[in-house]
Amino acid sequence: MKIAVLSGKGGTGKTLVSVNLAAAAEDSIYIDCDVEEPNGHLFFKPKDLVEEDVTVKIPEVDNQLCNGCKKCVEFCRFNALAYAKDRLIVFDDICHSCGGCMMVCPVKALTEKDKSIGKVQMGRSEDVQVYTGILNTGEPSGIPIIERLLEESKAGDDKIILIDSPPGSSCTVMETIRDADYCILVAEPTVFGVHNLNMVYELVQLFKKPFGVVLNKSLEGENPAEDFCLERGINILGKIPFDSELGTLNSNAEIVVRKSEKYKELFTDLLDRVKKEVRHETTTNS
């Protein structure tokens, strides 16, 4: 059962929700796909770490063979190639590894070489398997790392898998939710929060994913994110209070489920709710 946790911006509580649901699930897998800024490992502090390098293919030019036709320069959508006077220059950090330049080169002056863009880290925290993707600073796309993380976790497909998504609704988020059985959208109780919620709400609809909303930082009284859900008949899975006990534990990188009975109950209930939703989806849609 793959559950992706997403939000329209950073800092809404994706990591809080996904880390604690994984901890509440027991014998689960937590995958941190927020590869530009993975921070789930700060909470889990996984042991027995195994690391693997992630590489992509980028072009390498043989200027002896290059005839200066500039077909590759014209082809590249990302402008990663330039022809200066008598030689072709490849900008590794702009290249998106599409391989098109190699296809259009009439004299085979371009060949593939491996370039490391980051790594995946695998470890264990109590009974949770922790997978972390780490993208090197300045790399244009984290998608190859996310692909590898999801591939590596396939062995545990029978377990509950919590996927901590990158913020927003861009390509990396799409890659993250592509195979998810269910999406949890985390929302803040502000007008700004509604705007961000709407972004991911549109995305999950586009991908036809079953989903529900968790209202984080909830206070008594007005909650624009809750109103947004009620107006549209969106399933509200639960509320997490704006609470100093939770804030303190979380800021100290503690997993609240492992420290507080109250929060263990809250996240266990939330998980049960989500499991029920997923089972309901699989029986009605298969």
Partner: protein, 122 residues
């Protein structure tokens, strides 16, 4: 010799553009014939790598000198590979800067910025 400059309008009486890679046009001024030509900067609307593409346009125009208020690292490296010299514009108008360059009053551009690259998000 040909001099290239990023410009906002196809008008020699207008001002120098404020950026390099994202300027809508380049002026290519021929110091011998005193003729000026405006070429479109196809990089202006690029989602990324605008500096590299703009540098390619300057190189392809056979300019050997670029007068610009600023320039990113990738663009500067591309231009250097093609032996295009980069000078910093200090005055507002296109004409004043050309005159200043001809009089040897412009300095080579020393601050090359890291580029205004879009991080993630695509």
């Amino acid at each position: 010799m040909k001099i290239a400059m990023p410009v906002g309008k196809k008008d020699i009486e207008s001002n120098v553009g404020t950026s390099f890679g994202r300027s809508p046009y380049f002026l290519v001024y021929d110091t011998e014939s005193k003729e000026s030509e405006f070429i479109e900067n196809k990089a202006a609307m690029s989602s990324g790598g605008a500096g590299v593409k703009a540098a390619q346009t300057v190189i392809d125009s056979d300019s050997t000198v670029l007068l610009t208020p600023q320039c990113g690292e990738n663009a500067a490296n591309t231009l250097k590979s093609a032996s295009v010299e980069i000078y910093k514009t200090t005055l507002k108008s296109i004409r004043e800067n050309i005159d200043a360059y001809m009089a040897g009053e412009l300095q080579p551009l020393s601050e090359i910025h890291d580029g205004f690259h879009d991080h993630g998000g695509h």
